[in-house]
């Protein structure tokens, strides 16, 4: 009796071992499968590794031109974007202004290669496929998206870590930028300990550190108060000019667009179209307070604002 029970138990153990082995095999298989399946959408991670693995990762900066023809996008039956053409030259800063909900953020996601447009074509640095664009475009989302479990410097160095840098190496490289951009001594602060303005700075450094040719900034300062926003605009402008990358900046703040951009594109309410393309006053290196109060600047601002708030006429009849 005892013997048979032991034999039974022994067999059971073998059974359990085989079971776990099978489970493990299944597990690795599923992880691999889903990894491959998902990677068709976000192949850039794999490409990043390949760039490193083949030893040809070239992180020296190259700017890239960006162009789009007839970009249109549908969400179901809703037309978000309707036939946009755009052209941004090497190292130029294009600011896009438009009312809320006109599809500005969608446009950035399309340029970035996070999605393909429903119609039309977008080309960045000679690449017109979504994974190719994703490889060249860095995207700074509207909310800072700092990961609360990493310190400021580890957040900034995320791209480097994803490319396979060791943590000390990524930190060393990020630390340089922290010093240069006035974030020294905040390296080891966690996002929850940082002010809104500080968080946006870290988010911008994180975008810079991806070392991509094109920067796409989605209302980077929308969540900040007016004073902090002005302060950060003054901080961002020299940073962008020094980096010399091609930038597309989306905002609903006309002043911000005029101050930061080389050119400004005005978008209509949904379905989004470009209605105007203007040259900005240009970057003179004078303090912001002077720039934004110059007559030329204010005239342009009022003109664009008028254009944006232009609404269909309505007649108001007094009841009799």
């Amino acid at each position: 009796m005892e013997k048979s029970k032991k034999a039974l138990l022994g067999e059971e153990n073998v059974g359990a071992g085989a079971f776990f082995e099978a489970l493990l095999t299944l597990l690795t298989y599923i992880v691999r499968m889903s990894g491959i399946r998902k990677n068709t959408h976000c192949a850039n991670g794999r490409i990043g590794h390949e760039r490193i693995a083949s030893g040809c990762l070239d992180l020296t900066l190259m700017t890239a031109t960006l162009s789009g023809r007839g970009i249109g996008h549908l969400f179901g039956s809703l037309t978000a974007l309707d036939g946009l053409d755009l052209e941004v030259g090497d190292g130029r800063i294009l600011a896009i202004v438009g009312p809320s909900g006109c599809g500005k953020s969608t446009l950035l996601e399309l340029i970035c290669g996070l999605q393909e447009p429903t119609t039309g074509e977008i080309e960045v640095g000679g690449r017109s496929d979504a994974p190719g664009r994703l490889e060249l475009c860095a995207y700074m989302p509207q909310s800072d998206c700092l990961l609360p479990w990493y310190s400021a410097i580890d957040n900034a160095g995320l791209a480097l870590r994803n490319l396979g840098y060791s943590r000390p190496k990524a930190r060393a490289e990020s630390a340089e930028l922290f010093e240069r951009f006035g974030l020294k001594d905040f390296e080891d602060s966690h996002p929850s300990e940082l002010s809104g303005g500080m968080r946006q700075r870290v988010a911008f450094l994180r975008t810079l550190l991806s070392k991509k040719d094109v920067l796409l900034l989605d209302e980077p300062f929308a969540a900040l108060d007016a004073i902090t926003r002005a302060e950060l605009q003054e901080w961002l402008l020299p940073a962008m000019l020094a980096e010399g990358r091609t930038v597309v900046l989306v905002t609903h703040d006309v002043e911000e667009a005029l101050y930061l951009g080389d050119q400004i594109a005005v978008m209509s309410p949904r379905p989004g179209r470009f209605t105007q393309l203007l040259d900005c006053p240009g970057h003179t290196g004078r303090p912001r307070s002077e720039v934004v109060t110059a007559p030329e600047f204010t005239t342009m601002r009022e003109r664009i604002l008028g254009h944006l708030t232009h609404a269909p006429e309505i007649t108001v009849k007094a009841g009799s």
């Binding site: 995207y139 509207q142 791209a159």
Partner: protein, 253 residues
């Protein structure tokens, strides 16, 4: 000071409850109201006295039960976390097996426990299976919810920063899910004790549940309550250690 402040209120409450019980029991009020013999309604003092007298017997059985709980919970933790990860990574798998997982929780443990004893004998096997079955559900479901609650913008952000699927999982999804997993583990550990007792009642040679069954049959109500106290203490200790680990791991919160 802060430790005192944190622990003082619950300790005071427990002491107060025991005090009330002590008065009600030793004055004969409870036995009279329930129309019972005095020995069937032990006072806390009597219970602690028995606990001390039979300390070796009780601690011996408590050790067996504690081992069952820790082992069963560990199995559930590993399987639960793995299941949550798999179900998160594969839509097909989630749609296929979610109903099965829910079904697993509807099994009436009291009914299935004796069957498991028939299948696996009087050893630790059936207890492990029962505890793991009870603990698995809150861990798996909570962790899966956590994985699915990931911020879509953060994932997009990671995709633009060269992240592979695995790196998104490791750097964004797992940390997001951790607080949920800890909640699941805390619920699981609280119910694991009940699972252990069910398992031992269905058939066992040792353990607090086994001892309770004997004491119940012999109307040794005082020692029965002593076992209950010890069982609660085990659960509270496990719960507290998970809480401690949680505070250590989730420093950013």
């Amino acid at each position: 000071m802060s430790a005192v402040r944190r622990w003082l209120p619950p300790v005071l409450l427990i002491v107060a409850l025991f005090g009330l019980w002590q008065i009600a029991a030793s004055s004969g009020f409870m036995a009279e109201t329930l129309n019972l013999e005095d020995f069937l309604v032990p006072s806390p003092a009597q219970i602690f006295e028995v606990m001390w007298q039979d300390r070796s017997l009780i601690s011996d059985n408590a050790l067996t039960t504690a081992i069952e709980i820790v082992a069963g919970f560990s199995v559930a933790l590993v399987v639960g976390l793995l299941a949550a990860a798999l179900l998160h990574l594969s839509d097909l798998l989630r749609r296929t097996s979610y109903p099965v997982i829910v079904a697993s929780q509807t099994i009436p443990i009291i009914v299935i426990a004796p069957v498991l004893v028939v299948w696996f004998g009087y050893g630790i096997g059936p207890k492990l299976a029962i505890i793991a079955l009870i603990c698995f559900f809150p861990i798996a479901v909570n962790t899966l919810d956590g994985l699915r609650s990931v911020d879509a913008d953060s994932v997009k952000m990671m995709r633009t920063l060269y992240a592979s699927r695995w790196q998104i999982f490791k750097r964004v999804e797992i940390p997001t899910a951790l607080p949920y997993a800890f909640s699941g583990a805390k619920i699981a550990v609280a119910v694991s004790v009940i699972g252990a007792v069910f398992g031992e009642w269905a058939g066992s040679e040792k353990g607090l549940g086994h001892l309770m069954l004997q004491d119940n049959a012999q109307l040794m109500t005082d020692r029965l309550f002593a076992s209950v106290f010890v069982l609660s203490a085990i659960a509270i200790a496990l719960f507290a250690s998970i809480g401690l680990l949680e505070r250590r791991v989730l420093r950013w919160r």
